[in-house]
């Protein structure tokens, strides 16, 4: 279940309450998010759409503990992250969040295996345990045979699949995807969306995805529309697509 009116029960995996996010630019106060409420239950696949500058990425950054709200609170799996210290927040991210970026953001000097292994370096897993986890993650994304390839030796779609393997390898509480298909052709984009859908249906991963792509949004269980910092539930795809254009 996903709600945006603040009426969700205390059992939601993600609870956002009265979140404002303001920026100050050239002396002017910009209100990016206003009194935002959101409840996301475990296993949900949520898509956020909205025009550029509507605050989609800002919301994702707040949910991922990369940024802090000006007002309000965010609670994930019982942990209120809004008042955590920077150090605690870093540890929390390592344990709970898997990030998937539009530009993949793989480390070019590391091969696929090493890129996927990165989050596991922060755990107490042994080398052989890390190897098992990495191989499992790369198998899920269908790139087990490419584990020794460097990013430059992979296509865009394959790079994004490695990035997804990196995001899931530590079995995080939820995945945050920022335009995961934004830099891909239609075929590769569909493969990535198939993979995300599988992660949601087969592995019951909670996924929050920002996208401009209506085809991507269609895969989500719930589509939320963000406009001028305000979240609207159940927006029709046609309306949203019109807003983007």
């Amino acid at each position: 279940m996903v709600r945006v009116d603040g009426s969700g029960s205390g059992g939601a995996l993600i609870q956002v309450r009265g979140v404002d996010k303001n920026y100050s630019r050239a002396g002017e106060e910009i209100h990016v998010l206003q009194s935002l409420n959101l409840d996301v239950d475990k296993g949900e696949f949520v898509a956020f759409m909205g025009p550029s500058g509507s605050g989609k990425t800002t919301l994702l950054n707040l949910l991922g503990g990369l940024d802090v709200p000006t007002h309000g609170s965010i609670t994930v799996d019982g942990d209120e992250i809004t008042h955590m210290s920077a150090g605690k927040l870093t540890q929390w991210r390592a344990r709970h969040v898997g990030f998937i970026f539009q530009m993949y953001n793989l480390i070019p000097v590391l091969n696929a295996f090493q890129n996927v292994e990165l989050p596991l370096l922060l755990t107490k897993l042994s080398k052989s345990e890390r190897r098992q986890h990495v191989e499992a993650a790369l198998t899920i994304v269908g790139l087990a045979e490419r584990m020794n390839h460097y990013p430059r030796q992979l296509s865009g779609g394959q790079e994004q699949r490695v990035a997804i393997a990196r995001a899931i390898v530590a079995d995080p509480t939820f995945l945050l995807c920022d335009e995961p298909t934004g830099d891909l052709d239609r075929k590769s984009a569909d493969e990535i969306l198939d993979l995300l859908t599988r992660l949601s249906t087969e592995y019951h991963k909670t996924i929050l995805m920002v996208t401009h792509d209506p085809a991507a949004a269609e895969r989500a269980h719930t589509l939320l529309h963000l406009n001028k910092g305000v979240l609207v539930e159940g927006a029709h795809l046609d309306q949203v697509a019109g807003g983007v254009a």
Partner: protein
Amino acid sequence: MKYSSLLFANLFRKKVRLMLTIGSFAAALFLFTFLAVVKSAFSRGVEVAGADRLVVINRTSIIQPLPIADRDKILTIPGIKAITHNNWFGGVYQDEKNFFPQFAIDIENQRMVFPEMVVPDDQWKTFLNDRQGAIAGARTAKRFGWKVGDRIPIKTTLFGGPGAWEFNLDGIYHNDRPGGDESQFWLQYKYFDESMPADQKGLIGWYVIRLDNPEDAARVAGAVDAVFANSTYETKTETESAFAASWVKQFGNIEFLILTIGSVVFFTLLLVTGNTMAIAVRERTAELAVLKAVGFSDRAVLFMVLGESILIAAIGGTLGLVFAAAAVPVLANALNGLLPVLVVSPVTLLTGVGFALAVGALSGLIPAFGAMRLRVVDALRRV
């Protein structure tokens, strides 16, 4: 160690840049080691000088002689254990480039004043009974392949006109003190004096006094100079280390020169490496942001950048030190003993390693702090 693959992968990201930076370090450390070795060679005399010895020279200049008769007057001063005298012979062996110091010595007192220069008793006995005898330092003997019993011709333009003086090598001395001089060549003063023209007989180059107590150095030095004040042969008496230091100063202010060059090298290297690390961090802004996003702490990122910088310094520094260690003996041979001892000591090596690591850490500090303070949100927005 878990992060080593990441550290090394980042290190070899730009191979040409890495090679150039390592090359800068290697060149700087090579120069640093070379300068340190030369400085050490110049100051070795000061370091190994006897604390209980005074050197008495003519107040005008060391090349002006003193009468041998002054010896007895000096011995009247309380606190003197022994006194000996030396004359500069100034010869060469076979060729002009074969320079080494030769002294006409006072055979009765030499070993009492310089006990660290050890000659086996049987060899010394032979020397005492051989008017044309000579004792060579182990280093000089090794340099020319001399053995006890060899006939050694030494040419000098200072004494006795053209032609070579012939000596029998009766013994070889070793120096008990680490780094002590083993390059001298001793001949008997009596044999030397007999060959002098009448107006130069009975003159010596300088006296060396051994004291009962090193704490009496200032008093005895003052007393010696007072005895000969306002005489034809006024004296200048100083401790052996002060004498060695003033000898070094004749070459110029070596320490200042080396410090200046060293400082320029240090700051140049700091700027070169600092710039390299700053560029490396700037190029990797997005990657560092991703590392932080997936859970790498600020401190881990700081140490990763610092580690890279220190690793470059360690590799470059080690290469420089190895090259220097290989090149110094070549230089020593080329200089033909002009400088007493050219060696890369463990202290020099350790100082070099410390210098390299310090430059590595300092140059990486600002970029590392920049990486540490990087805000993930800002960095990802720039991509």
